[in-house]
């Protein structure tokens, strides 16, 4: 079988997911021998932007007109498009404040002499093109990336367990930061894969892998509130990495909880 033709692209981002691929270190040479890497601007200079691709990995948000152009061009050439990293999958940190106008943000940072700076709202890849597979993480876990490539080489997509950071944390028998320290933690909502890296070091989960499917926003919101964590603090915590996915759910639940409490007082 011919080696699959692969392109690795970075839109507006910190390049952390591409760095995670470079950090595959020992496995990278083998990886490169199994793939025909046609384009990877971060790591090579002989890039071919014409050929059809079997797989395109795309990191980052659509944050400029050039990003959108690049993404559409890559999509039109690629059989499979894989979004890598929480920016590409959910919008990540860049989409944290999409409720503020980009024009206002530009003015706050650069003043009134910045008309040349793009004010496109930061959006995940799926907002503009079809995506065949999504691997979240900030950055992605290299073991998951290697598993993904292994599956793709066999003509398949990987099945990662749909569990949470909270489960991984329990399996490590860590003391619960919410129950024992009353700290807001996104672990119960957040997709597993990191091995509960932060809570194991006593840092509450900030949700950098984004939410699992059918996350229990309402139950989690109530659990946090029952530890006297304010609505504001919960929203700050959940509004960092996957804000567009989480915020609407949290707001709805906050409102219904407030109403319930009002009714209870009336009774």
């Amino acid at each position: 079988m011919d080696k699959p033709r692969v392109g690795i692209y970075g839109l507006t981002s910190c390049a952390g997911d591409q760095l995670a691929i470079l950090n595959c270190e020992d496995e990278l040479i083998k990886l490169a021998s199994l793939l025909d890497i046609r384009s990877w601007v971060m790591a090579q200079s002989n890039n071919d932007e014409e050929t059809a691709l079997d797989i395109a990995f795309v990191e980052g948000v659509i944050g400029s007109e050039k990003d959108l152009e690049t993404l559409q061009q890559v999509r039109s050439r690629a059989e499979l498009l894989v979004a890598i990293g929480t920016c590409a999958v959910w919008g990540g940190v860049s989409a944290m404040k999409n409720n503020l106008s980009r024009e206002r943000m530009r003015e706050m940072v650069y003043g009134d002499r910045a008309e040349h700076i793009d004010i496109r709202e930061a959006l995940p890849v799926k907002a503009a093109v079809d995506v065949e597979y999504e691997l979240p993480g900030c950055p992605i876990e290299k073991e998951q990336f290697l598993t993904l490539v292994g599956s793709l080489l066999h003509g398949d997509l990987p099945e990662f367990p749909e569990s949470t950071v909270c489960s991984e944390c329990k399996m490590k028998e860590n003391e619960c930061l919410l129950v024992h320290r009353h700290e807001a933690c996104c672990g119960p909502l957040t997709k597993a894969g990191c091995g509960a890296r932060c809570p194991t070091l006593n840092v509450p989960c900030l949700g950098c892998h984004g939410p699992i499917e059918e996350a229990h926003y309402n139950a989690n919101f109530r659990a946090l509130r029952s530890h006297q964590i304010s609505k504001d603090d919960i929203m700050k915590k959940m509004g960092v990495f996957a804000s567009p996915a989480w915020m609407p759910n949290v707001l709805v639940e906050a409102e219904s909880l407030e109403k319930e409490q009002e009714y209870a007082q009336e009774d």
Binding site: A15, L22, I29, V41, Q44, D67, M96, M108, D118, V240
Partner: protein, 142 residues
Amino acid sequence: MPKKINQAIDIPHLGRVEGHGGIHVEISDGEISKVDMAIYEGSRYYEVLIVGKHFAEVPQIVSRVCAICSADHTLASQMAVEDAMGIKITPRTRLMRGLLLHGSMVESHALHVFALALPDLLGYPSLLTMVDDYPEAAAMGL
């Protein structure tokens, strides 16, 4: 008298750096007459993103400015928070941070030398294409 040069230099998308940019330079009669620098990435507005956040979350957010030097961004924002709140750190914390900073420098420079700059010096398009001719050096670099 040096020869008067007329030339245009066009680098549309600079490879093997973190970040996306290109540059166009025009030289007429030995003088640089035009320089256009293009940044293809969008702005991320971190200065606005951290407004209203809990102070403990700021270093975790700001560390995402750049993946290669994320440790340095984490430390810089921790120091800014401490400065704003008048927090003094212990000598032990200072030493630990120094260790992190040196580790970051070793990692960043190793990445730059082996994966980003070395292929240029030896005439290869990437570190991965050097594997056939320099298997040991490439493996050590990785």
